[in-house]
């Protein structure tokens, strides 16, 4: 294939973040002129990092980027824009209080008399481009008053007005309704016909099959290859996206589940963008078992966990712990029922970064009798318990007085886990408990989870890591599009292929099969 055919070439891209995380490892990524090219992969596969580098938001540690046959050094988005690259972010970068036209010309506004913004020509420019590219917007409307679909068009126009020939769209359909999506696709095909190149980031298989010419699949920071969209099946894509390189095994005895501890009934939630994130979700977790929730991120898992700890309120449905409804109940009371949570966002919920390890370990039990002598703390008792926890949970630190924010990610998580596991929980909700932490800490936390469940705790494990969720769970549900897509009573027979099909929405079990997850 002649070189000139590629409008963007990224060769051997490595990206190591300052904290030593390798987000991209030797990635090759080529895009042909005038094609719609999908960049696929699960969250965290490295596709956003790759695109950030192409748009100048991040710089590669090593590797080469060639745009239109010229090796470029994209030090900032301004440079990237000057090379004809435009990006539409998933979260719109618009000023809500300004009009559509004002947003489009922001930073490059036509001036009248050298001082005042020339609104008329801004509106004219907007209309011209809107006409030319068939992206119909209302130039005089305020951005805060227009629907999401139109905001996206404004973003695309913004890029086009700035001379972009290559458009990067980061999960453009995530916020759109079906109709808006169809409209967007028509517009994208129109752009393609006019010679524009589009890079389309997504993990929705149907959409990819519908409009892209070729696709690159990423997994764990590496490229899994480039394929012609027409010549690859959805099943193959799903296998490439979510498969496991090495299968992890965890030794555990067979679960002996007894009474139901957590019971979730018909939970529904529609988010602020009017998207249904939870649709009649029902399940239960029993004493002594680990129930896993698998699924591509963004399919309602985060919302579900929020509901289970009153970090958000459902629109309908009930959540019961040992028969007591906990919807709208304060975290203090939820905790007093014996529920503990390892939060996904450990820096926001899990710790107070500038406080000491000790202060972080006692946050859920400061009122305990053993820690208080009259009005004052019994510092000896606190030191003792914390030193024990630090030892038992192998937190690597100089002392309990060290600031928790100075620890590594794995040790921070051990602090969180030490607190959440040491309060005699009857129900442990573990949300991505080992994300982003080192192998040693990961193994330790997984072992502890199994240990606690065998000792009689009910465990709900939410994880986007297939290895983790398949090996740790006794039984497992798959979430897709805010619904439970499948329930597997026994995880032993499961394969990556089966999981992939349910996770990516290619298959769905019948309601009866799913209903078996509710034990009463």
């Amino acid at each position: 294939m002649p070189q000139s055919e590629y409008v963007v070439q990224m060769k051997g891209i490595n990206k190591v973040y300052p904290n030593g995380i390798a987000a991209n490892r030797g990635v090759d990524f080529n895009v042909r002129r005038g094609e719609i090219h999908a960049l696929m992969g699960e969250n965290g596969a490295g596709k956003s990092t790759l695109m950030k580098m192409l748009f100048g938001l991040e710089q590669p540690t090593s590797g080469e980027i060639i745009v239109n046959g010229e090796t470029v050094n994209l030090t900032s988005p301004t440079v990237a824009i000057s090379k004809g690259i435009g990006m539409v972010h998933q979260h719109f970068m618009l000023v809500p209080s300004l009009t559509v036209a004002e947003n489009i010309v922001l930073g490059m506004a036509p001036k009248k008399g050298g001082l005042f913004m020339d609104m008329e020509s801004a509106v004219k420019l907007t209309e011209e481009y809107a006409e030319k590219y068939n992206l119909h917007v209302d130039p005089k409307a305020k951005v805060m008053d227009i629907p999401v679909g139109m905001k996206q068009k404004v973003e695309i126009l913004k890029a086009l007005v700035r001379g972009a020939k290559i458009l990067i769209l980061d999960e453009p359909t995530a916020v759109l309704t079906t109709q808006e999506t169809a409209e967007l696709f028509r517009e994208l095909i129109n752009l393609k016909e006019q010679g524009y190149t589009i890079i389309f980031i997504s993990h929705k298989l149907n959409e990819i099959k519908q409009i892209t010419d070729r696709l690159t699949i990423m997994r764990a920071g590496k490229s899994m290859g480039v394929y012609e969209t027409a010549s690859i099946t959805k099943e193959e894509i799903s296998r490439l996206m979510v498969g496991r390189d090495v299968i992890l095994t965890v030794e555990k005895e067979k679960a002996q589940p007894t009474d139901t501890v957590l019971s979730v009934k018909d939970l529904e939630y529609t988010n602020e963008w009017n998207k249904k994130m939870l649709d009649k979700v029902s399940f239960s977790v029993r004493k002594g078992e680990i129930l896993g929730i698998a699924g591509v991120e963004g399919n309602g898992q985060r919302e579900l966990v929020d509901m289970l700890f009153n970090l958000n309120r459902p629109d309908a449905g009930s959540v019961k712990v040992n028969g007591k409804d906990i919807v709208g109940v304060s975290q203090r009371n939820i905790r007093s029922l014996g529920v503990s949570l390892i939060p996904e966002d450990r820096m926001t919920y899990g710790i107070a970064a500038t406080a000491s390890i000790e202060e972080n370990l006692i946050s859920d039990r400061v009122g305990a009798k053993r820690f208080n002598k009259g009005p004052l703390f019994d510092m000896k008792a606190i030191h003792k318990e914390c030193d024990d926890l630090i030892r038992d949970f192998k937190v690597l630190c100089k002392s309990g007085q060290q600031k928790v924010g100075m620890l590594s990610g794995g040790n921070i998580q051990k602090v969180v886990v030490a607190r959440e596991f040491s309060c005699d929980p009857v129900l442990i909700i573990a949300d991505q408990p080992t994300r982003g932490i080192d192998v040693g800490a990961t193994e330790f936390i997984r072992k502890k989870l199994v240990e606690l469940s065998r000792a009689g705790a009910a465990v709900l494990l939410v994880s986007a890591d297939l290895n983790e969720v398949m090996e740790l769970s006794d039984s497992l549900i798959v979430m897709c599009g805010g619904k439970i897509a499948a329930y597997f009573e026994d995880t032993a027979m499961l394969t990556d292929e089966i999981m992939g099909e349910y996770m990516l929405g290619l298959k769905r079990q019948s309601d009866e099969e799913i209903g078996r997850v509710c034990h009463e």
């Binding site: 973040y17 904290n19 995380i21 390798a22 987000a23 490892r25 965290g44 596969a45 490295g46 990092t49 997994r219 764990a220 920071g221 590496k222 496991r244 390189d245 992890l248 700890f309 304060s330 975290q331 203090r332 009371n333 939820i334 905790r335 007093s336 949570l341 939060p343 966002d345 450990r346 820096m347 926001t348 919920y349 899990g350 710790i351 107070a352 970064a353 500038t354 406080a355 202060e359 006692i362 946050s363 400061v366 009122g367 208080n372 009005p375 703390f377 510092m379 100089k398 002392s399 007085q401 924010g405 100075m406 990610g409 921070i412 994300r435 982003g436 932490i437 192998v439 990961t442 890591d465």
Partner: protein, 374 residues
């Protein structure tokens, strides 16, 4: 353990050096200004730096030293009040108004309630403090229930408090026999006695202030309430998730702030004067903010910061009396110190942000590395 204490000490030394550097830089800036605007810069500098405690004949100026200590009494209280509220992340500035309200109510109790020596002053201070605690409920509850900014609320409230006090002073409680607006003199029994002989303004209030430094320090670092206040200030989401009573403690922190500021105001009025005669906000609340920032919200450092401010005030006053440098100089010097400390704080905040950001990047990106290893 040895390792730990060594590390802690090193950190402390580092912190102290950082503070000293800020003060040195500020004084250097002040020196530059003095050299620019004075014909006798060395005289001016002498009075600014050593004037407050050294007599012209070179001896230690005891009475001037007592004056400095006396000036610390209200600002220690407002400094403590601000420490508690800022620690909870509540940028409440109403300690200024509470000082005035506390002083006024304390004086009224001294005039209209009659009691024995000893008890009387205590009762006056307690009533003033309690009332100021109630005043702080307004911004605190509006913050918790409606999400209104406590900073804006408290700032505006200072003026409401001032005019309410002036209204009652002018129309209800004024002593018409006097040439200026003031209340009747309060009972001798309500007066806070002097600590040293010779009519010094250094009263037992100073001892009370130091006792409260210890109490507040213990409260903040050795009780579950103080702990909760600090955790909420560091990370509110974390505190809520941990099951702490966030709303309640936010209110509590501001009530404590009001109580401390009200004590400071009443002790100042009952110790320094015979009658209530403030006709505008006394400024101790603002000084308290400066002190809390200098002390990094740690109660133990409050007396030192208060001493520094009082010393500087005295030095500037002497400088303007004895040389040709205008007393407005103190504003410039204070502004400079504030600036350097704030800049240093800003850098600390920035560093923290970097840590958090890299950790978050870690969260978002490392599943990649994870998946690879697995």
């Amino acid at each position: 353990m040895n390792n730990k204490s060594m590390k802690d000490r090193r950190l402390q030394v580092f912190e102290i050096l950082r503070g000293a550097a800020a003060i040195t830089l500020a004084l250097a800036v002040a020196t530059v200004f003095i050299f620019l605007c004075s014909d006798e810069p060395f005289t001016a500098l002498k009075y600014l730096l050593i004037g407050p405690i050294v007599k012209d004949n070179g001896g230690f100026n005891t009475s001037s030293f007592y004056t400095i200590l006396a000036a610390m009494i209200p600002t220690i209280f407002t400094g403590l009040a601000t420490c508690v509220m800022f620690s909870a992340g509540q940028f409440n500035l109403a300690s200024e108004g509470c000082v005035m309200a506390g002083g006024f109510v304390g004086a009224l109790c001294g005039i209209y309630i009659h009691m024995n020596t000893g008890l009387h002053a205590v009762v006056c201070v307690v009533i003033a403090a309690a009332l100021c605690g109630l005043i702080m409920l307004v911004p605190a509850i509006l913050k918790v229930k409606l999400g209104a900014s406590e900073m804006v609320m408290s700032l505006m409230m200072n003026y409401i408090i001032m005019y309410v006090v002036l209204h009652f002073l002018n129309n209800t409680f004024a002593d018409r026999s006097k040439g200026s607006t003031q209340t009747y003199p309060f009972d001798e029994t309500a007066k806070i006695p002097s600590l040293v002989p010779g009519g010094s303004k250094l009263t037992w209030g100073f001892v009370v202030a130091l006792v409260f430094v210890v109490i507040v320090a213990l409260f903040m670092y050795r009780t579950k309430w103080g702990y909760t206040i600090r955790m909420i200030g560091i990370n509110k989401a974390f505190s809520e998730y941990s099951g702490m009573n966030v709303g309640g403690v936010i209110v509590l922190s501001q009530i404590i702030g009001g109580v401390l500021a009200g004590m400071g105001g009443s002790i100042e009025v009952l110790g320094r004067f015979n009658t209530f005669l403030w006709k505008e906000l006394p400024g101790y609340g603002w000084a308290g903010v400066t002190i809390a920032i200098l002390a990094k919200n740690n109660p133990i450092f409050v007396p030192f910061a208060a001493f520094f401010i009082a010393y500087l005030n005295k030095g500037c006053m002497l400088m303007s009396t004895h040389s040709d440098v205008p007393s407005e100089m103190i504003d410039i010097i204070q502004a400079a110190i504030f600036l350097f400390f704030a800049a240093e704080q800003f850098l600390a905040g920035y560093r923290q942000k970097l840590v958090v950001r890299s950790a978050q990047a870690d969260l978002a990106k490392t599943e990649t590395a994870e998946g690879g290893k697995a």
